[in-house]
Symmetry: C2
Subunit: 337 residues, 2 copies
């Protein structure tokens, strides 16, 4: 018989939780130390609900846990921060399998280890629906917070990696028949794969999103080399709600327009193969790629794309409130038919 | 017709949220500044689920919001911290009334204002069950964190206020007939009340728990006057799970025993009147009073109870692993029959 958390009891559940928690849990709150010199704290929080944000049909317990960590870590990266620690509260129906929640903690913990941070606390409660609520803390050098409202006319628009692959992975998970399109070898990332390996590699983009702390490390490195003075020159956000949405949000918050270099916008072969005519649609609106969309002077942008493999300048910030001289929505639709 | 969040839409909901949020919400994370000099951060988180932790039958939306804030703030106070900020994620079914969630934010905000802190971020998602997840972070002077495992033999055990009133409030909310016991005037807090006023005052103990930051301020004041050197002399936790539980937890974590001064243990008239023979039961196990149970040298404890109205020395820490020489559970049961 499969063990449920009801038979495990509250103490048993707490015992599992503690295995994945770095601190001596037992006090009312977790002690975190002070912020590092010349750093400040940023905080972000996300709630994930069963059948709204994840599903047993498409996502293993480990992937749910990874995802719960990654979406929050991506928000920290989007602000230019390094992770400091996370807390996770979990609401569970009594018939939840112990194996499921263990899998969630394991995947969560694996993501945290990958990015050098820790689970420092949490709460476990009864709920009729499986619910995860994560809060992540990060630290960012003072005056180097990446925000949405500071893009400037003349800035290059940079994306840190390909878009549309998370959508491609999701489609593959739902539509068995799409797999037939992937029999021939294709380059994905740095590898050439075909068949089942290729399917799995694409699904992984959806299942294991990657917060781009590597991009932030390069930002800091470049700024240090430049001995940069004056206003912090970088703005942006992550593309969790889609590439088009990120560009539009930055433009709206900064009261500027944008010109997109449509011919430079990379669309990877896997997305073309799976999406056909709708490839650009997936790239612009697919969402959940968790790349960063950053605006910065061209001189910095060129150094940045030289140092970060896969990063591309995809446009520039212009005066006005339009994208390619069109209403934001129609600008994207115009190139999307 | 009553407006639901479904008809309001995501943007409308976000607009309500922003009214109660101090920061410019719009970036991926909230910027908080650095910890103050010689302070460190503590973090706590709690999830509250409809029909598990609150109910329309006993709790107004405002009180749900207040409670969600207060339980987290009490955890900060229990660590000796002052609040720095909070985030709240909310999961809502589409048919949730807009008035309900507005009430929650209003009550939450009222509690935060009372204790001089702010809502700095959050998330709003769809969920089949109303769920609130709050994370609170606070700052505490370095080496002055109040923990459970540092109680020492010879310490006095102090409680910051009366126990059993939250339970009394809950009983009154469920059992209409109990109100008849409250026709005669009774002293409650610093007032003498009777009838409906008395009922309401008692219910309020359950509906509006009070984090004891005032007690923490007195702790810091006394320590400052003492010019205290060496190990931090104060241990403890809050009594959210009951007075008996707090004493037992501290003893277990510190590997000590306790002697309780049963004759000094105050039981207020309202609890006696409502609970009858079970008054001590309510005091020990009622729970949710959110007082602090602190252990400290008698010399400090005497100053502390002199300065904090309602605080009482209720026992002392002794060698061993028993309370009053008995197994922890039976120690409390022994005096409870």
């Amino acid at each position: 018989m499969t063990e449920t958390i009801n038979s495990l009891g509250e103490q048993g559940l707490l015992k599992i939780f503690r295995q994945y928690c770095s601190e001596v849990v037992g006090d009312d709150a977790a002690a975190m130390g002070a912020t590092l010199p010349d750093r400040q704290m940023v905080v972000t929080t996300d709630m994930l609900v069963d059948e709204v944000h994840f599903s047993d049909r498409t996502t293993s317990a480990e992937d749910v846990g990874w995802r719960a960590a990654a979406v929050n870590l991506s928000d920290l990266a989007a602000m230019g921060a390094q992770p400091w620690g996370l807390v996770m509260s979990v609401g569970l129906p009594p018939d939840t399998q112990v194996a499921w929640i263990e899998g969630v903690y394991r995947g969560f913990s694996e993501c945290l280890q990958t990015y050098g941070t820790e689970l420092v606390g949490g709460d476990t409660v009864r709920s009729p629906v499986r619910t995860l609520s994560v809060t992540a803390f990060g630290q960012v050098p003072k005056n180097q917070i990446i925000q949405r409202h500071t893009a400037r006319v003349g800035d290059a628009i940079v994306m840190t990696g390909l878009h549309g692959l998370s959508k491609a992975g999701l489609e593959l998970l739902f539509k068995e028949e799409l797999k037939e399109k992937l029999l021939a070898p294709l380059k994905i990332g740095n590898r050439i794969l075909a068949g089942n390996d290729l399917v799995q590699a694409i699904c992984r983009y959806h299942q294991r999103p990657t917060p781009r702390f590597d991009a932030i490390a390069i930002v800091h490195k470049i700024l240090k080399q430049q001995n940069h003075l004056g206003d912090f020159p970088i703005s942006g956000m992550d593309s969790s709600d889609g590439l088009a949405d990120a560009i539009a949000q930055i433009c709206r918050a900064s009261e500027v327009g944008a010109k997109i270099y449509w011919r430079s916008l990379p669309i990877c072969r896997a997305v073309r193969t799976l999406a056909g005519d709708r490839a650009l649609d997936w790239v612009l609106y697919g969402g959940e790629d968790f790349e960063l969309v950053l605006c910065m002077p061209f001189e910095l942008a060129e150094q940045f794309v030289n140092q970060l493999s896969g990063a591309v300048i995809i446009g520039e910030i212009v005066e006005g409130d339009r994208i390619d001289g069109l209403e934001m929505r129609s600008a994207f639709q115009h190139f999307n038919v």
